[in-house]
């Protein structure tokens, strides 16, 4: 019987899916069906969930979560499911393009790869001759293929390597490095009994293993206290949702610390053995009572005290989430430090239901191999952004830097101007605030190259667009995905690259050869690299591909303090302990303990503008993907009915959002789900590239409105300290 609703492939379908139910793929290959199942790793966001890709007649027909991964149980999110829609999107750039029109117009001619490489190499060599190799900047969203762009940059001799991190998690990374000696720390979500989330919107900034862990916890009775000025899906899931005034989470955290210390609710043994600076901390928070915090946050003192007591009582299975996106308020760095102090007082390090250090391969004595390359040339010039430099941004890791330094360097020439920029899977126009200034900088560059699957907003300004193939069309270097035990994952090519697209291992090898740097890329292909990576483990790519991930057989999930609460935990801080007080910060002239600064109140007639993520899009990267675009094609300005009424704005009205002479238009969503003095919108819209045919011109782009504000300690961008006027249009 043919059943219409099951589609035309009813006969073939069960065979293919039965294969999926019983990985590994090698077993599946013995099935009589035509479907092939390829284990791989998702790249629709940075989480990199393990996936199974079902291929029929050379076409991807379905992507699903790899059920072998315990933390996801075969689940993947909407974006992961929509990978096929990215793969087949007619908007993808499928051949190298060289600009013929004005910058930003998006007018290009098709070129061969050789032409494109020649074009870039010639200009790079001229720039190096005139300005030195440091005139090249490279920026990327960190990915498994990072090594190729970084090798190219280092071989070229530039120190100016940037990532998108300063527009996202840099603040928490730096706070964790300072306090714990590493940002390689994770939360044991599914076993936590009491989780306090300071605006970490787990259900929308969706990392599947984390969200699933929290749901598992909640369903067995764990509690989630969630602070957010806006009602988000995480508010709905939380057992307690609190609505603090934006930027006052720090006051809440400080008051929790105060209560825990005053009421002796902290783990004294832990604090004594594993932390330093408790006395300074206690002194610093002495006056931060719940009553004081109530006036800051707008949350009743009784509620704050109760949360602190519950948190203290539930320890060590109580965790304060240190968050991910932390490019928020000027006091965010202090907030992250305060959150880490809460965890220290809970004594939750390295116990089940607490937080734990990632147990990498290194700890088991063997690391992934690498391909052989000569030593990189010595770098003479300093970085343009002062990352890692005393007196400037000493705490910012040089692998990340400050991506916002690009326009600054080009337009002011301080300390010297960048002349060329390669943006890999990274769209500075969508990531760096003050978009008009970045555009101005682009116009002054001698060379701008975009390596991407789409013509991004930046791509429209580029001289050359190099079309990278998608993650489904390429093999990447083996990546580490360690948790409680070490683990590696393998992104394996499922289908051949479409059109004239190429993987980044090939792009940078060939570009290097055209630039005269071929010796740094002395590999034949990606398989050779993977073989070299796996050699130390006596593992082959074919073996790894069977399940798509691998843990050393001797390694077991490990909590260092599970059985012995006094077991040694090596921390890489100066003191080897959790630094509640940081002498390092003091030396650099930063606040070494904890102190509160109140966020400025919105000037009369303005709103604080905040933004967040939705579960079906990743930053600004996915809004044009057909299926995801259909799910959420645009954003709206959330505004409370009281101010909306005052301004004559009704739900669905067209509005203008204005600040400092700039404006964006969009539609109003009048809702009680946001505080009165605050407006909210989802991030990632306001796109301008003509190559993004679906999303171009839709929604409100906050990057066009926000100024660049940089946190002096962490180098992180500050994106929630902007005030806007809203008028009906």
């Amino acid at each position: 019987m043919q059943v219409a609703a099951a589609g035309t492939a009813v006969a073939a379908l069960p065979v293919g899916v039965r294969e999926l139910a019983h990985p590994p793929a090698a077993e599946a290959a013995q099935s009589p069906g035509t479907d092939k199942v390829v284990t791989s790793v998702c790249e629709m966001c940075t989480v990199r969930c393990p996936i199974l890709v079902r291929v029929r007649d050379g076409k991807v027909v379905r992507i699903q979560g790899n059920p072998r991964e315990k933390s996801t149980q075969g689940a993947i999110c909407a974006r992961g499911n929509a990978g096929i829609s990215l793969l087949e999107d007619p908007d993808r750039v499928r051949t190298p393009l060289i600009r013929v029109g004005k910058r930003g117009e998006g007018t290009f001619r098709k070129a061969t790869w050789e032409e494109a490489y020649r074009y870039i190499a010639d200009r790079l060599n001229v720039i190096r001759g005139s300005y030195g190799p440091e005139a090249l900047g490279v920026g990327r969203r960190p990915s498994a293929g990072d090594a190729f762009l970084l090798t190219f940059a280092k071989a070229f001799g530039t120190p100016n390597i940037f990532s998108h991190e300063s527009s996202c998690p840099l603040g928490r990374n730096v706070a964790m490095e300072v306090t714990l000696g590493t940002s390689g720390v994770a939360i044991d979500y599914s076993k936590v009994d009491y989780l306090v989330s300071f605006g970490r919107n787990h259900m929308e900034t969706l990392a599947v293993p984390q969200a699933q862990g929290i749901v598992v916890g909640l369903s067995r009775g764990a509690r989630l206290v969630y602070l957010d000025p806006r009602r988000s899906p995480t508010s709905t899931a939380a057992t307690t949702w609190l609505q603090p005034l934006p930027g006052t989470d720090l006051a809440f955290a400080l008051a929790m610390l105060q209560v825990m210390i005053a009421e002796n609710l902290y783990d004294q043994a832990f604090v004594k053995r594993y932390t330093m600076g408790f006395e300074q901390l206690a002194a610093a928070v002495l006056t931060y009572t719940p009553e004081w915090a109530a006036t800051e946050t707008g949350i009743p003192a009784g509620t704050i005290r109760q949360v602190a007591r519950d948190f203290g009582t539930a320890r060590p299975r109580s965790v304060a989430d240190f968050g991910w996106f932390t490019s928020t308020y000027l006091n965010d760095f202090q907030l992250r430090r305060a959150i880490l102090a809460l965890n220290a007082l809970a004594g939750n390090l390295e116990v089940p239901g607490g937080m734990f250090l990632l147990k990498g391969l290194k700890g088991y004595g063997t690391e992934l191999g690498d391909w052989k390359k000569p030593a990189f040339p010595a770098v003479k010039a300093g970085r343009v952004d002062g990352a890692g430099v005393a007196g400037r941004f000493p705490l910012v890791p040089v692998k990340d830097g400050l991506c916002q330094a690009l326009p600054e360097s080009v337009l002011t020439g301080k300390p010297y101007p960048l002349k060329a920029y390669i943006a890999h899977r990274f769209d500075p126009l969508a990531a760096i605030p003050d978009q008009p200034r970045t555009i101005e900088a682009f116009k002054k560059l001698d060379l701008l190259v975009s390596v991407d699957v789409y013509m991004s907003d930046t791509g429209a300004y580029a001289d050359v667009i190099l079309p990278e193939c998608t993650y489904l069309e390429r093999t990447d270097p083996v990546m580490e995905a360690s948790g409680l035990a070490p683990k590696i994952r393998y992104r394996q090519q499922a289908v051949p690259p479409q059109g004239n697209t190429r993987p980044s291992w090939q792009i940078y090898k060939e570009l290097a050869e055209a630039t005269g740097l071929g010796e740094y890329f002395a590999y034949r292909d990606i398989d050779e690299i993977v073989t070299a990576q796996l050699a130390p483990f006596g593992l082959t790519a074919a073996k790894l591909a069977e399940s798509g991930q691998w843990t050393p057989p001797t390694a077991k999930p490990t909590y260092l303090r599970k059985t012995d609460p006094t077991a040694p935990v090596k921390l890489k801080t100066a003191s080897g302990k959790i630094e509640l007080y940081s002498a390092e910060l003091a030396k650099m002239g930063f606040e070494p303990a904890l102190a509160y600064t109140a966020p400025p109140a919105p000037p009369e007639g303005t709103f604080r503008m905040i933004q967040g993520k939705c579960a079906v899009h990743t930053n600004s990267a996915t809004q044009n993907i057909p299926v995801l675009h259909e799910l959420r094609p645009s954003n709206e300005l959330w505004i409370h009915p009281v101010p909306a009424g005052r301004l004559g704005i009704k739900d669905g009205d067209s509005v203008i959002v204005r600040t400092a002479g700039r404006e964006q238009r969009g539609l109003a969503k009048v809702t009680r789900d946001i505080l009165e003095g605050t407006v909210f919108t989802y991030h990632g819209w306001g796109r301008t590239s003509p190559g993004l045919t679906r999303v171009k011109g839709k929604g409100i782009g906050f990057n066009a409105l926000m100024p660049v504000i940089t946190d002096p300690v962490s180098g992180s961008l500050v994106m929630r300290e902007t005030f806007v006027e809203v008028v009906k249009s």
Partner: protein
Amino acid sequence: MSTLTKSGARHQYALVVDTTRCIGCEACSVACRVENEVPDGHWRSRIAPPTSGGSKAPLKWSCMHCADAPCVQVCPTKATYRRTDGIVVIVADKCVGCKYCIVACPYGARYFDDKKGIPDKCDLCAGMLDAGLKPACVQTCVGRALAVADLADPHDKDAARIRSGEARPLHPELGTKPSVYYVVGE
């Protein structure tokens, strides 16, 4: 087609949606869309977000596989029928594409597939269930909020949630006897 449980009784499928575990992420929407090659602009399953006046939780929304299905009643050709295992399906080559079933469904669960020339909707991934697998939405669910219950199986834990009244249908007042059951928190 295998519709027998181990004990020999016929399957009686129902979908259990635990809204207390649903995070509204729409993973199910896209998994379904891709698995079933649903045409652009249409969905067999979506999430209705919580609303101030209505549901406090996100609601997964798809065909309710009603026991007294209006679509089955009105279908002039009997192309739409309810299988003995409870799944309401459309036999493609009996359907004339009159769209009456789309008009008749109070849950708005059906859409018209222009390419095929007939209406379409969720069939609980019947082909996969028949092969002993879970539907796409259930497989991919991030919160593990979805489960296919077999009411013919006395030991089925999800069926027990239906029998105990913990999981309840949407809009029972319509008298359609839906086979999708929702667990709603306080």
